[in-house]
Symmetry: C2
Subunit: 335 residues, 2 copies
């Protein structure tokens, strides 16, 4: 393309000072006379000089990138978390590099981790939302600061962690449904990284607290069509009057399956989603859902990482609350 980018030596030459002097005005640590400082600044302007991050990282160990390791980057919760990380990182002067870990298989995990490690990042945030994410977590060496962003508390790993209080959210939503007079609440879970996701645990806890034996929960994939098939079996069962879905898409699938089966929502059955995606208020009926602030999860994760990078250990775990948003898909049990 065009000529090579200007270097610090070019700036020094134009400004008529030494290379270290330019470096000093750049880093700002060591004092430089006002006169030379101005000369240097002018030269930088004139040449459109940009410091070379690679050289800088090489010599000073100053890292200006953080990596995020995730199994996916486009699904709502994942994308929003990445967005929050990027926002906080950018505000702090870091760039974010993303690497997806497609599966939990050793090869995929190793390749991803090796890539990240070779790029001398300041730290890495792992989206421990699923098996691949969790596998990546365990494959990371101690040599780099790591924080985990999780969709649930749990896991014994000793690492700073930000998590969504989805267990509590599920408990509250379930209790709310029970309070509406439903005799039990059915649950369709999403695949998760734990033996049992936080939402499923919260749902189960709420039922048990009410003295109700949790019905067997169903587990679906990330493909809403699979959720739809599962939902049809629920729709065929007249004892099902309240459903807690793993996320809003699953909830939409339930809405549709119920409607097709001639069961009205919320007249015959109440449905609660998870996430509060933008579409949640637009489906018919508008979805009651447990709002999760993924962007905040991302921001908090970065804050934790920044602390770790700076050697401040401080608070190890931060929880991001959920909020039950009641709309039109839930109502009292009809006798």
């Amino acid at each position: 393309m065009a000529g090579r980018a200007p270097t610090i030596a070019d700036v020094a030459r134009v400004a008529g000072v030494s290379v270290p002097t330019v470096s000093r005005v750049l880093t700002g640590a060591i004092p430089v006379s006002a006169k030379r400082r101005e000369l240097v600044e002018r030269a930088i302007q004139e040449l459109g000089y940009q410091p070379n991050a690679a050289a800088r990282a090489l010599v000073s160990g100053t890292r200006s990138m953080v990596a995020v390791l995730a199994a996916n980057t486009s699904r709502y919760g994942y994308a929003k978390t990445v967005e929050g990380i990027e926002e906080a990182a950018r505000a702090a002067g870091y760039m974010v590099v993303i690497t997806v870990v497609e599966t939990a298989e050793q090869d995929a995990v190793r390749t991803a981790v090796a890539m990240v490690l070779s790029h001398s990042v300041a730290g890495v945030i792992v989206l421990d939302f699923d098996e691949p994410g969790h596998a990546a977590l365990t494959a990371l060496p101690q040599s780099v600061p790591v924080v985990v962003a999780a969709a649930a508390q749990s896991r014994a790993i000793k690492l700073p962690r930000a998590f969504l209080a989805d267990q509590r959210g599920a408990r509250e939503a379930t209790a709310y449904l029970l309070g509406l007079g439903h005799e039990t609440v059915h649950h369709i879970a999403l695949p998760s990284s734990g033996r049992r996701g936080g939402r499923t645990a919260g749902w189960s806890a709420a039922l048990q607290a009410a003295g109700i034996r949790p019905p067997k929960h169903l587990t679906t994939t990330w493909n809403p069509l699979d959720a739809y098939e599962l939902a049809k079996s629920l729709a065929a069962d007249p004892s099902v009057t309240a459903v807690l879905a793993g996320n809003d898409e699953v909830a939409a699938a339930v809405l549709r399956a119920m409607t097709e089966q001639g069961r009205s929502v919320p007249g015959d059955v109440s449905v609660v989603g998870f996430d509060d995606q933008p579409i949640a208020s637009l489906v018919t009926p508008a979805l009651t859902t447990v709002a999760q602030d993924f962007a905040e999860l991302g921001r908090q994760s970065f804050t934790l990482l920044e602390r770790s990078i700076n050697g401040q250990e401080s608070q190890q775990t931060v929880s991001v609350p959920t909020q039950l948003i009641i709309r039109a898909s839930t109502g009292p049990r009809r006798d």
Copy 2:
């Protein structure tokens, strides 16, 4: 954290060879005897050595990162495009670093561009979906390979470009609606980077080809609630019998506004979305929509970028086709 990462010098020492020899087995360009190669490989294994990408980039100019500049990373089309880019980049051995350009204001744009430039990336892909993206495009210097991923053809900028054939998709969808007997088609557009987005242009062209004067189109924001407000005004107008929405979320808003107004879909009004997000088949009625393959757009963009990086200029523009998916939200005009 732990001790410093092993360097090429450590590997050389353990293997009992010189540093350049290690480098040679690493890069693979220059032949090395089988014996030493094996010694080196064993040492690499033993030490868990990872080449330092910064040092490598510094000396050889070998870049292993590509940047994506975008106004947003979490909305469906944006996130899917990034996903496609990441997938293709990873397969080719590149990492992707993302930077969001929040607004088209000079400050935001400059900061983002400077960040990217200082990180010696091999190239950059700009998501020219909106004003900030477009501003970033014009702020990028000639010194780095750039390709544009766009939601529409257009723009005179002389750069390799992959674009979604959304103009054609909108034209087909509009013609389909007209073929159903609707006298005209109304349109709610999303904000776009052009004076007039591809979808709007395609819609307008189809109407004109049929000798129909396009009604004034409405423009909404990315917030589905705004689309919902707009949709209410359309719902109140009995002459509206067919609506082409800017994307599936807008279409969901239209569905809801119509239903609330007592106008049935598709009995009274037909609605077509754009994107075919997973939720499209789950809303009620299932949405007829123009499917757009954003992931493919991302992959194609990367392929173009890779060519540019390797100095092969070849084909400058690639178009990713859309596909009209007919479901239940559209039907013949009822008299």
